[in-house]
């Protein structure tokens, strides 16, 4: 009697995919991995350029003891949280509207999805031109006699509550989340909702017990991605935020570009902190999506 034995034979086939990926991976490893390694070592105080060659936790301790760091962290969480929540709610409402049949649906859906390829920086300039105290809306309000001077217009850009930053994220991310929700709604159709209606569910109950669970996987994954992006992004809070407190990424950048090179390890520690939080969120996203796929 001979039992079937697994053959352990060397074949190039096993290495085909890693070999094909090797050129791209080596670039990523060199640039990204190298950069990460450099950031990591500098965050632990290894900065030979100013004579620091010993590793220490000083920079990490310093940032956690710095009041400005916590204020920046709070502001960043506020921006990410409010922007994500607002865009998610708006995205769901838009997707629910766009799934219906109405005249001009194609054109409106196209307009809704139009800003997906537009860069954030363009949105930021738009917000500046529209909402700043010298912006279009302030001038129109002045012309209409609602305010006597454009400077009387409420500060909506570079403001305390980060309205400008949040507005830019909402403008950009609503259509991102909305497109994902709309795709889910269109692929599922209205059958489940019809079944629920027939079983006695009113409009709100249908949304709460049927539509929401159906779109939740898409909403959850998209909103985690949006939050992770908003948490780590630099250019929008840099352009539209206040100098103090600033978003975490801007604080890290300021420390990095400070003339005092001794602040550089702190900048690196802050950057790594942002990367860690974002990575944590991505892992959470992957865990949730895998769980949902299994179910």
């Amino acid at each position: 009697m001979s039992a079937l034995q697994p053959r352990s034979r060397f074949t190039w086939e096993r290495f085909r995919i890693p070999l094909l990926l090797a050129p791209a991976l080596s670039v990523i490893l060199l640039l990204f991995g190298g950069g990460l390694l450099l950031t990591l070592s500098q965050s632990f105080g290894y900065l030979p350029i100013i004579g620091k060659t010993e590793f220490s936790l000083a920079a990490w301790q310093a940032i956690f003891q710095r009041g400005e760091f916590w204020q920046s962290l709070f502001l960043t969480l506020w921006i990410g949280g409010v922007a994500t929540l607002t865009s998610t709610i708006l995205a769901i409402l838009c997707a629910l509207t766009l799934r219906k049949q109405f005249r001009g649906k194609k054109a409106i859906t196209f307009l809704f999805q139009l800003n997906i390829p537009i860069p954030h920086i363009v949105g930021a300039i738009g917000i500046l031109l529209l909402f700043s105290q010298s912006g279009l809306i302030a001038r129109l309000a002045n012309l209409a006699g609602m305010i006597n001077d454009p400077a009387q217009f409420p500060a909506l850009v570079n403001d305390r509550y980060a309205f400008g930053i949040i507005a830019e994220y909402v403008w950009k991310e609503t259509c991102f989340i909305g497109t994902i929700v709309l795709a889910t709604l269109q692929s599922v159709g209205e059958d489940y909702e019809n079944a629920a209606a027939s079983l006695g569910a009113n409009r709100w109950q249908r949304f709460r017990y049927v539509t929401l669970p159906l779109i939740m996987p898409g909403v959850l994954t998209a909103s985690i991605l949006v939050f992770a992006f908003a948490f780590g992004a630099f250019e929008i809070p840099f352009l539209l935020g206040r100098r103090f407190p600033s978003a975490l990424s801007v604080l890290a950048w300021r420390s990095y570009t400070d003339t005092d090179l001794a602040l550089r390890p702190e900048a690196m520690a802050m950057s790594l902190f942002i990367a860690l939080v974002s990575t944590g969120l991505i892992l959470l996203y992957m865990t949730i999506s895998r769980k949902l796929v299994r179910e």
């Binding site: 059958d191 019809n194 027939s198 079983l199 569910a201 049927v210 179910e295």
Partner: protein, 340 residues
């Protein structure tokens, strides 16, 4: 027990022809009525109109003489069990069955108990905490049925309830549907494209073609007295013999036949394959035919005959004692002939 009345119902979909046109139908209370027809005949549209998931362009729908046309689906009391089950995959089986009760504000304990009882009735006792994905297609169909029945609907609407099941499960599901329908005496409307499904399930069949009602009656009527050639063909009829009816004498180029009732304006008669017999002796309503082919079909034999240019099909339980190419007399009983 609710009588459903459809009066002059018309429904058109955007950019297409009529789905249903001037449709009148009375669905008797406490019985199973099948809306039968080929794909695109408007039967599913009618079901959704009755459920309140669609609004007709014109006409009225009444439940016990009360118009429900402006009553939204959730308050209409016509619960639909869909063809693809549509059991909510994110809920447990128990939560699925209790869904309708939850929407009506029934307290949790009470609805859980009612759901468990209903699951027992559909032979899924103890499945409360299972996820729908753990169930087979047949079991999901029973969950869908339990979910509809637990709300004690006025009208139960079943969309192709047997079509996704294999032969064994079909029989089981049919017995279950009929048993529960008799137990609760719910007016039930079944939509199907399968004449066999309609015949085994329904007390009454409404046959639709192109959004219009073509024949209404008991299942046996469609075999014994189809109103048109199209209906006879839909029910598996293959024997159509052209001729002229004078009185009760149907004259054809192959011979003359006596039919039961004189009718006007007819050009064909039909006979079901199982009603054609091999004649013992020459008599009226007989034709000489040649056996072309005889095939064993598992439960019966199917024979193909040729009478000059006319092809005929008959069936028999026992094999024939005739060889292919041989001639014999075939007998067409008067009561088996339907003219149209």
């Amino acid at each position: 027990m609710t009588t459903v009345q459809l009066s002059s119902i018309t429904k058109t979909y955007q950019g297409s022809d009529f789905a249903v046109r001037n449709f009148d139908l009375t669905i008797p209370s406490g019985k199973i009525t099948a809306l039968l027809g080929p794909s695109g005949s408007g039967k599913s549209t009618l079901l959704k109109l009755i459920a309140g998931l669609l609004t007709p362009d014109s006409g009225d729908i009444t439940f016990d003489d009360v118009s429900v046309i402006s009553t939204p689906a959730e308050s209409r009391g016509a619960v639909m069990a869909f063809q693809n089950n549509l059991v909510f995959p994110w809920m447990s089986v128990g939560e699925n069955v209790a869904f309708g009760l939850k929407m009506r504000g029934v307290p949790k304990k009470q609805r859980q108990q009612q759901a468990a009882e209903m699951l027992e009735l559909v032979q899924l006792g103890g499945f409360n905490n299972r996820k729908p994905t753990e169930l087979s297609g047949g079991q999901q169909q029973r969950v869908s049925l339990a979910r509809a029945l637990v709300t004690q609907p006025k009208v139960l609407l079943l969309d192709e309830p047997l079509s996704n099941l294999d032969a064994h499960l079909r029989d089981e599901m049919r017995t279950l549907i009929q048993g529960l329908q008799h137990k609760f005496e719910i007016t039930t409307i079944v939509v199907t494209h399968d004449q066999e499904e309609a015949v085994i399930l329904a007390d009454q069949i409404a046959l639709l073609f192109d959004g219009e009602l073509h024949q209404l009656g008991q299942p046996s009527t469609f075999y014994q007295q189809p109103a048109s050639r199209r209906i006879a063909e839909f029910f598996g009829g293959t024997n159509f013999i052209p001729g002229t009816l004078i009185g009760t004498d149907f004259r054809t180029i192959y011979g003359d036949f006596t039919v039961r009732e004189p009718r006007t304006g007819v050009s064909h008669f039909t006979i079901r394959p199982e009603r054609i017999q091999v004649a013992q002796a020459l008599s009226a309503n007989c034709l000489m035919a040649t056996l072309v082919e005889s095939t064993f079909m598992g439960t019966h034999y199917r024979h193909q005959w040729q009478v000059e240019t006319l092809a005929l099909v008959s069936t028999s339980v026992a094999p024939l004692t005739l060889a292919v190419g041989e001639e014999t007399l075939l007998y067409f009983p008067s009561d088996a002939l339907t003219c149209f």
